[in-house]
């Protein structure tokens, strides 16, 4: 291999492709999402003489399965090559979990429902009980399987429209700023604000921030919010040494940095 090839190698970052809403729903640190979803088959050792290069999967197909799940990994195995999916870029995302939307296509055209899942990577939303199909799960030779009704995804660009809460009719939406500087969704037809629903706060850990149950190893809110910091003219190390009764009176020799 040419030395220039190694020097100019660039690592692929799957985090750039995972949607912000997906990350918020998972409530995981970015580092976990990265290491759970990426597929690195070989990488250069972590030592100063190596540049960062890796053999890894670069083309992922995002589906209704979240990127950090094993199902996602199964759908993106190393031997799978699937056609590229073109996703329309959207500047300001306007659909959130809990929104009331109207379906514009399919057999449920004209019906309204609540969004229960958002897949930002594909511009998809799932509407509760609408645009459904039947799936047979667990079918075997001697067992007919179980029929499950599951929602098919709908494109946010032209297959669903948000519903104005004042007159319960589909409307186009615009992002504007209030006088307080808050960014809000405004119905283009009536000019009313469409608030972002509470269900958008839901993560895999809790339904809402106020409904979070304190766990065994969690720090109490009072303890976490207690202000114990007092400004003091010393470094961290000097402060700790003082509190531990360690005295340092040696004078360091002159050294050189290069």
């Amino acid at each position: 291999m040419r030395i220039t090839t190694i020097l100019h190698a660039k690592r692929h970052n799957i985090l750039e492709k995972v949607g912000e809403l997906s990350k918020a729903f998972g409530n995981f640190p970015d580092s976990y999402v990265k290491r759970a979803s990426e597929q690195v088959y070989w990488e250069t050792p972590k030592a100063p003489q190596y540049t960062k290069a890796a053999i890894e999967k670069r083309n992922f197909r995002f589906t209704t399965n979240r990127p950090w799940t094993s199902q996602f990994r199964m759908q993106n195995m190393s031997n799978m090559k699937r056609k590229k999916v073109f996703v329309e870029p959207i500047e300001n995302w306007g659909f959130f979990r809990g929104d009331r939307v109207e379906v514009l296509i399919g057999k449920d055209k004209g019906k309204q429902g609540i969004v229960n899942q958002v897949v930002q990577e594909r511009n998809w939303v799932m509407v509760e009980g609408l645009n459904c199909h039947l799936r047979i799960v667990g079918k075997e030779k001697d067992y007919p399987g179980v029929v499950i009704r599951s929602e098919a995804p709908l494109l946010v660009t032209n297959q669903v429209a948000l519903v104005d809460p004042t007159d319960l009719q589909a409307t186009e939406v615009e992002w504007r700023f209030t006088e307080e500087g808050e960014k809000v969704r405004v119905s283009k037809r009536t000019g009313r604000i469409i608030p972002i629903p509470k269900a958008n706060e839901e993560t895999m850990d809790y339904k809402g921030k106020k409904l979070y149950m304190t766990r065994e190893k969690d720090t109490d809110v009072d303890v976490a919010q207690e202000i114990s910091f007092k400004p003091k003219l010393c470094t961290f190390e000097m402060d700790i040494m003082e509190s531990m009764g360690i005295e340092e009176d040696r004078i360091p020799k002159k050294t050189f940095w290069y």
Partner: protein, 266 residues
């Protein structure tokens, strides 16, 4: 199996320590460490229990061993750590370090057994908190050094030309002797590169960078053309913001934009 192994392991360690406390004079160092933390007025079996309990802190609570998911909170963020005193940060750091040690022990054991370990994101959350503590400590130290000496007190570094002739940032290292007196270091860290080989290498390297840029530009252009042919109502301003290098006026002259059909000619 995991549980059995863990118990076996801990009891073995406990036996080792017990032996050191009561019988074996070889383990005097350990004896000292252990007995310092134990009330010696307790009867012997209580001491054993105490040692066992303390050793069990290396592992997760047995309740979580066969769980599919361990519910837990989030990591400490910067705003929460900035209001804590230095000694509090010190304490939190060691709690986190102990937790990280425990989690990595559990992960190792489950991997060894080829078992599913619940909630591996706990490691990331602990590491995230530890990184935030380091950031806060660094901020405080930098403020002190800026006040006292006008520098941030961080490890110095500079951009150098390395042995391949490329510019790179290198952190400086502390030495006892000055640069001009340290011949060994100078020979081990050659700076700069000259000659025909260097010229050839740089030409190839620049070609590589140029080709990568050119290919990236073409890739973007083809992607935009395909997007436009699929979504004719797409807002072009969004695309222009995302791909500033592409000239949108000439795109519709490309064959790719037109598609695989003969246009109507009047």
């Amino acid at each position: 199996m995991i549980i059995l192994n863990l118990i076996k392991r801990t009891t073995f360690a406990a036996q080792l320590l017990n032996r050191s406390i009561f019988n074996n004079s070889l383990y005097n160092g350990i004896k000292y460490c252990v007995t310092r933390n134990i009330h010696l007025s307790q009867p012997a079996h209580d001491i054993n229990e105490d040692v066992n309990n303390k050793l069990m802190e290396f592992f997760d609570v047995p309740k979580n061993w066969n769980e599919n998911e361990v519910k837990h909170g989030r990591s400490w963020n910067l705003a929460e750590l900035r209001i804590k005193s230095n000694s509090d940060l010190h304490k939190i750091w060691f709690i986190l370090l102990k937790e990280l040690n425990m989690l990595k022990t559990m992960e190792h054991e489950y991997k060894r057994e080829w078992k599913w370990w619940a909630s591996p994101e706990r490691i990331d959350k602990v590491q995230d908190s530890m990184k935030n503590i380091e950031t806060v400590v660094r901020e405080r130290n930098q403020a002190y050094h800026m006040l006292e000496s006008g520098t941030d007190g961080e490890q110095p570094g500079q951009y150098i030309t390395n042995a391949l002739g490329l510019r790179e940032y290198k952190k400086s290292v502390e030495h006892i002797v000055p640069y001009w007196a340290n011949k060994k270091w100078r020979e081990a860290n050659p700076r700069g590169c000259h000659g025909p080989d260097y010229q050839k290498f740089m030409r190839l390297y620049r070609e590589k960078i140029y080709n990568d840029k050119r290919k990236g530009r073409n890739r973007d252009k083809n992607h935009v053309i395909r997007l436009l042919s699929r979504f004719p109502n797409l807002d072009r301003n969004v695309l222009k913001g995302k791909y500033p290098q592409i000239n949108f006026d000439t795109l519709n002259k490309k064959d790719l934009y037109r598609g695989h059909y003969v246009p109507d000619v009047e």
